[in-house]
């Protein structure tokens, strides 16, 4: 067993590792996890903004109502959860600094916005060059964009803030957070806003990792088109009350959501099958492996049951044991990144 180091080292008297931060930079939320004594603290910010009329009066009202805003030159933007409420009120769409898991190429305010949101959750480093692992998506199988610019920009920004940044694949972070008992062997699946990320890990080493550029936003857009609603409203309904196990007495929107959830799950499983078949030398797995489901799009009641049903029908070419939800589906990526950061910090 490792001996606890003194308080000058990276472990304190109780053997706790309190340095290192994990940052989950997702299309919908930015989250940061760090340890404080016996607790893990999670700071979170919704990754959305909405422009409102810029007057001193509006600013005062927003200040008094504790609505978060950002002013850039002549524009005033409501940010975070309130942006979603404002968008629904005005029957418009929110704007996002990230699209499909990476810095949005079409959003002109993307960079300063994402920097502001990251800074608000991560704060200052607690020691010089504190290690911060940040989540990045896998290379998309079904889209023509490259993730290098996104990774280098976030990395460069965290360095500017005084951190030693390191990227970690989003789905791999799920494995690090949830599969310690299985020696970090299994499949992590992150159903985020812009993408679904997949990683098959063996003894903590990723065998393959990829993403598909269809996920929660894609479901919202398809449903919105099918029932003539705005994506923001569909998203609000999906997040507030969708129950995929419900049979009968469902609204038109719920019914369309159910159809597109089925489509997305099948699409992801088919892509995993294809990647396993393509992988030339898979490590020998002695026992069935677990699948961990996580991310905001996996939150509706009945999601894991639906996933299991479709998996039974489509079958993967490797033995699968349990299929379960992550203990905290919205925090698990940040926590996994924190595990990686703490391990690195304790090695220094």
């Amino acid at each position: 067993m490792t001996k606890p180091k003194d308080e000058k080292g990276n472990e304190n008297r109780k053997g706790q590792i309190n340095k290192g931060k994990g940052v989950d930079i997702g299309t919908v939320f930015v989250k940061c996890a760090y340890k404080e004594g016996d607790e893990i603290v999670f700071k979170s910010q919704r990754n959305a903004f909405f422009d409102v009329e810029h007057t001193d009066f509006t600013k005062k009202i927003l200040d008094n109502s504790k609505v978060k805003y950002i002013v850039k030159e002549d524009s005033l933007y409501v940010v975070g959860d309130d942006a979603l409420e404002f968008a629904n009120m005005f029957n418009k769409e929110t704007r996002r600094p990230l699209s499909k898991g990476v810095i949005s190429p079409t959003e002109r305010e993307a960079l300063p916005m994402i920097e502001m949101l990251i800074k608000s959750v991560i704060g200052a480093p607690r020691c010089q060059g504190e290690i911060a692992y940040f989540s990045v998506p896998g290379e998309p199988l079904d889209a023509e964009f490259n993730i290098l610019y996104h990774i280098k920009t976030i990395e460069g920004f965290l360095e500017t803030l005084g951190y030693s940044p390191k990227p970690v694949n989003e789905a791999h972070a799920i494995v690090l957070s949830e599969l310690a008992k299985e020696e970090f062997t299994g499949i992590g699946l992150s159903f985020g806003g812009g993408m679904v990320n997949v990683c098959l890990s063996f003894m903590s080493v990723p065998v393959f990792k990829f993403s598909v550029a269809k996920s929660g936003d894609w479901i919202d857009q398809q449903v919105a088109m099918a029932v003539d609603e705005t994506s923001s409203r569909v998203s609000a309904i999906k997040e507030a009350s969708l129950d995929l196990s419900k049979q009968g007495d469902v609204s038109k929107i719920e019914s369309a959501l159910s159809v597109y959830y089925n489509h997305l799950i099948e699409y992801v499983i088919e892509n995993i099958k294809q990647e396993i078949t393509k992988a030339r030398r898979l490590p020998r797995m002695n026992r069935p492996i677990s699948i961990i489901l996580s991310g905001g799009t996996s939150l509706p009641t009945g999601f894991s049951h639906r996933f299991r049903k479709i998996l039974e029908r489509l079958k993967l070419p490797i033995p699968i044991g349990s299929v379960r939800m992550a203990s905290q589906p919205l925090r698990t990526v940040a926590k996994g990144a924190l595990v990686a950061a703490s391990a690195d910090e304790s090695r220094r």
């Binding site: 603290v41 999670f42 927003l62 502001m116 360095e159 310690a180 970090f184 903590s204 391990a343 304790s346």
Partner: protein, 176 residues
């Protein structure tokens, strides 16, 4: 150290505007603010510009690089000379092409140049370089800090054990 055309234009623009955001420089110079931001970062590194509170201003090297009236006159004459030479070259090139003298590139040459169809190892591109990114959010005004972010806490449970197990597995892997 010489400046490229656009870099020189940026330095001139900042000299006129005094303190400018990259959006303003982009509008003046006629390029996207992302591209201007990229060039400005290089100019800050080279010591031509200073960056503070989201705005660029001239640094010492930038002031020295500003064209004097005399050098401007000399530059105009030089440009005239080069443009004349270029026009003569293009005219000659066009004549040669019209007479069918241009040799088509063979498939073999193309393979040599582009590595297409080569059985050699694929090219590996190093991505382990520093890409400095400025904190552009410094130019923004916000009440986020005042209101605060959403904070949640959970017991760390056996996270320390997870971290140690991960370390052990990595060390075991390294020894193998």
């Amino acid at each position: 150290m010489t400046l490229s055309g656009t870099e020189a234009e940026i330095v001139n623009c900042v000299a006129v505007v005094k303190q400018a955001t990259k959006d303003r420089i982009g509008r003046e110079v006629g390029f996207s603010s992302e591209y201007i931001g990229f060039l400005c970062r290089i100019l800050v590194r080279k010591g031509y510009l200073l960056f503070s509170q989201g705005r660029y201003s001239l640094a010492e090297a930038g002031i020295k690089a500003l064209p004097s009236e005399e050098s401007g006159r000399r530059d105009r004459e030089f440009i005239k000379e080069v443009a004349g030479e270029l026009a003569r070259e293009i005219r000659g090139e066009m004549k040669r092409t019209a007479r069918g003298l241009r040799r088509p590139v063979s498939a073999g040459d193309m393979k040599k140049e582009t590595m297409m169809g080569s059985t050699e190892e694929p090219i590996k591109i190093c991505t382990d370089y520093d890409y400095p990114v400025e904190d552009e959010s410094l130019a923004l005004e916000s009440n986020i800090e005042k209101i605060g972010t959403q904070v949640g806490k959970e017991n760390s449970g056996d996270m320390d054990r997870t971290v140690r197990l991960l370390k052990t597995i990595h060390e075991r892997g390294r020894k193998k």
